[in-house]
């Protein structure tokens, strides 16, 4: 397992939002984290990359990363497309992308830029533009490109569909599927839209108020009666 999480508690201030959860992300493929608003999905991603207070064990490829600083976890190959997209509004698209690769000194960076332009042609058109002027969908693409330019082993994605038009969401999930197939990266996907997430995921976990209540292969979870009624709506 690439990422293994055991007994993870996490929260803001004195209260815990996650009350000891266990989950794992396999090398390659997509793992989905489902749940309603306030279940703790975003908190889980923030906990994995050390943005908030945590307890419990988190290991990346066998090495413990719980309690490390965010920038150190990132440098181990964990990229995060955060809630709200994390765009550097004042900087240009070019600078945003360069920041994605700022920790890298290998020769593959230029080729990875080309690959990002191929995945997201619109970023090439907007290359010199201030990132704050991009549309929501374009900013989401920029956030994904920025994360992928780190050449991560693990990609954390927080609600990539949030606030976007259905067509753009389709485009973004199509690109995610391509990335999953063509690149050596495991994706941990947080999504409110369970239908969408279960289509692309291999494994899924269902969070309810800070606890994992259902877990298993995505195909099985899609068949699960209670999940279907509460989260899939059919």
């Amino acid at each position: 397992m690439l990422l293994e999480v055991n007994g993870l508690k996490a929260g803001y201030g004195p209260t815990w939002v996650l009350h000891g959860i266990d989950f794992a992300v396999a090398e390659g493929g997509v793992t989905a984290l489902l749940g309603a608003n306030g279940a703790g999905k975003t908190t889980t991603l923030r906990a994995v990359c050390g943005m908030i207070r945590t307890e419990g064990s988190i290991t990346l490829a066998g090495k413990p990363i719980q309690g490390k600083a965010t920038e150190d976890i990132v440098r181990l190959g964990v990229a995060h497309v955060p809630d709200g997209r994390g765009t550097f509004m004042e900087l240009t698209v070019e600078e945003n992308m360069k920041l994605g690769a700022i920790t890298r000194h290998d020769k593959g960076v230029a080729a990875d830029f080309e690959r990002m332009f191929e995945l997201f042609p619109r970023l090439k058109q907007r290359y010199r533009q201030q990132a704050g002027t991009l549309s929501g969908g374009e900013q989401q693409m920029l956030a994904i490109a920025r994360a992928l330019l780190l050449r991560p082993r693990l990609l954390l994605m927080d609600e990539p569909s949030f606030g976007l038009a259905p067509l753009i969401v389709q485009e973004i999930f199509g690109i995610m599927a391509r990335v999953r197939d063509e690149q050596q990266v495991a994706i941990l996907l947080v999504e409110q839209n369970a239908n969408l997430a279960l289509e692309i995921a291999d494994t899924a976990y269902l969070l309810e108020t800070g606890r994992i209540v259902v877990s298993g292969p995505a195909a099985d979870i899609r068949q699960d009666e209670s999940v279907r009624r509460s989260y899939l709506g059919y």
Binding site: V74, A79, E95, K98, I102, T133, G163
Partner: protein
Amino acid sequence: MNGFLHQVIAGIATGGIYASVALALVMIYQATHHVNFAQGEMATFSTYIALTLVQAGWPFWLAFVATIGISFCIGVLIERVLMRPMDKAPVLTHVGLFIGLVLVISNLTGWVFDYTVKPFPSPFHDGPLFGGLVTGHELGSTAVTLVVLGLVYLFFRYTRLGLAMRAAAFNPASARLVGVRVGWMLALGWGLASGIGAIAGIMVAPVVFLEPNMMLGILLYAFAGALLGGIDNPGGAVIGGFAVGVIENLGGTYVVGTELKLTMALVIIIGVLLVRPAGLFGRVVLSRV
């Protein structure tokens, strides 16, 4: 007419000093949203270091570079030791800390280098040039200032480290998520600001003479310049600094007289805050969701 032109040019020369200090203020402001009131005292302390080195027989420009280096380290040290632990403290704690810094550095300077007013050597040709239009020091210090400002611009615009520092200042959370060591970027910002302040101190000391409160008025003008140009806009702050230099000189000569010059800084500060709080070039971030 010649007199007027001379006043403008002299204004540009002092304006360069204000511009440098304004830039130092803005650099720290952008990253921390605090105005470093101690910027002036830090610069004065640095200038004394330069004087000590020059008096010890170092060539001027070697002393100049060494002073910048030492000042850089002092800036980094202050951030690491004093500012870091205050990271999440409320605003008033920071204000208290800055006032404390002003007093401590000012008194330390007086204690170490004594309080007497000292002349400071200019590295440039002494005396008037071009028929009295400009002095050698004015021309030289303006050139140094422009080179420094240009280098700072190139550094932030075209280097990896500059980009990382801007990212850390604009959006620390996102900067961490791409692996930027935000804490160190802040320390580096303090170091750079401190180095730039040192240059301003060394360039102004031959004109105003060196004493522990040398930079007090200059900091006020620089702050006025930073506000005029936009406290969150480095380029604006630089232009504001030059503008304040010219306004101060012309106003002092033709309107209020030299005794009331410093009040003009206050007038500018209050005027800007009343009429256009963001400053002339205050950043307007376009944003679509």
